[in-house]
Amino acid sequence: MKKLLRSAGWPLGVLLAVLALWQGACVAFKIPGYILPAPPAVWAAVIERHESLINAFRITALEAAGGYAMSIMVGVIIAFFFAQSPVIRRSFFPYTILLQTVPIVAVAPLILMWFGSGLRSVMLVAFIICLFPIIANTTQGLITVPKNLVDLFTMSNASRAQVLLKLRFPHAVPNLFVGLRISAGISVIGAITGEFFASSNAVGQGGLGYSITYANSQLQTDYLFALVLTASALGFLFFFIVIFFEWLFLHQWHEAAMKPEAE
């Protein structure tokens, strides 16, 4: 715990310094609140509008988590498929790169057109943006099993399914977590981007992304900042949940897994 406090001390110091600079700049240059609200104004907005912030947080969290969960299931299945043969990989892998290279803001309007607005469309945007890191990293882990381990399974007359489930998949779990970490952060970005285009605009149904466009159009810059803070908090939350599971599954056997606090 002492160690935790000590390691948290430095970033906290940086935070305080930035807040002080921010406050100082607002006062010194007399920046109007609708361009850059001072920290106390942002804090006031957080307190005052906490109900709508929590509501938006819940909606966006649900969308991001839904898309993320789907991307894990579909991504791992696709990686299993890719692990079957180099021919399959060479044939299909270039197309999965499309997932990464086609800008999501260009695809989002299409999704809106095809599937309409609402929770499902936003989840779909988050899903698309999360998919590639899961596929790429899991596939990498599935196909880099040391030759001797494969031979060991062959000597035991292991079936293809046994090799996949008892050798390749466990070997790929550390790689899967690399993908999971990357996708955890971008699932929130995906959900917010999705909401810019395809959020439901019924009262109380808009998430953080929808609220950000609303706050922006109304020049409620303090609320906008509060929303951005909330979105970052959501990203952090997802990331640390993944880190926790990574530690849970890997710390006993994996060399590179995060060391427990005692270290």
Partner: protein, 260 residues
């Protein structure tokens, strides 16, 4: 060769040849018969094909020409009665020691989980690993890992054991200790062994016969029987006849190295 002429030898290699796709010949018409319970060490300069020979016996690599029969079966069919011990311990890092030892039986799917557990726990007791049964491989020393690897190979009660330089990476004390351990386990199970090594002392200590191979192409150059009776103990290492035989094998090894 100790078998009577009417019964076919337990293991026979007839004109075993292996050529790489590039056209170079690794093994050239290797002829060998092995009796049940033999402990055969394969020794020779690098490139003599000793490790390749193990791969052929295990069926992990196909023959170019010739024939191998193991207890009347072709190599891939004989996997049921064979275990392979690799140069590194090749343990699954995500499984505990017990989980690793269970692997072979688990993949065979002939036993229930409880039977496996009980069997492997007994085996771990036999090899002195009972108190690390729930440890993960990364918590073990190199020698311990190799013992787990040996226990895993023996869990399926193989009739034939193929060992590819299993103790090459270990320090001498650990190596000597594991040599004695292998002989002790062999007293229980009487598996027939092919053992690839670079260490003459180890080969003499363990084997019933030493096969000296030459390189380019790999061929059997000499066969040296090791007459010392079993059970052998550490004291054999200081016996004059042991040291004399180590000298003889070393000379034979130097001779084949000079050929290449």
């Amino acid at each position: 060769m100790s078998d009577s002429p009417s019964t076919p030898p337990f293991i026979s290699l007839t004109d075993v040849t292996k050529t790489w796709a590039s056209g170079s010949t690794v093994l050239d018409r290797v002829l060998l018969t092995v009796a049940k319970g033999d402990f055969i060490s394969l020794i020779g300069p690098s490139g003599c094909g000793k490790s390749t020979l193990l791969k052929l016996l295990s069926g992990l690599s196909p023959l170019t020409s010739g024939r191998i029969t193991l207890d009347g079966m072709a190599p891939d069919a004989a996997r049921e009665i064979m275990s392979f011990i690799f140069q590194d311990a090749t343990l699954l890092p995500w499984r505990t020691v017990l989980g690793n030892v269970e692997l072979g039986l688990e993949l065979e799917r002939k036993t229930t989980r409880e039977q496996r557990r009980a069997k492997c726990a007994d085996l771990l007791k036999l090899v002195g690993l009972a108190d690390v049964a729930s440890h993960y491989p990364r918590q073990l020393s190199g020698g311990m890992k190799m013992r787990v690897s040996i226990a895993r190979a023996l869990a399926t009660r193989p009739k034939i054991l193929l060992m590819d330089e299993p103790f090459g990476a270990l320090d001498e004390m650990t190596r000597d200790f594991l040599n004695e351990e292998v002989l002790r386990l062999r007293e229980n199970d009487r598996f027939t062994t092919f053992f690839v090594t670079h260490s003459v002392a180890e080969a003499v200590f363990l084997s019933t016969r030493i096969i000296v191979l030459r390189a380019k192409p790999g061929r059997i150059e000499r066969e040296i029987p090791v007459p010392f009776p079993f059970p052998r103990t550490a004291s054999l290492r200081s016996a004059p006849e042991y040291l004399a035989l180590v000298g003889e094998v070393s000379a034979a090894l130097r001779a084949v190295k000079a050929l290449a």
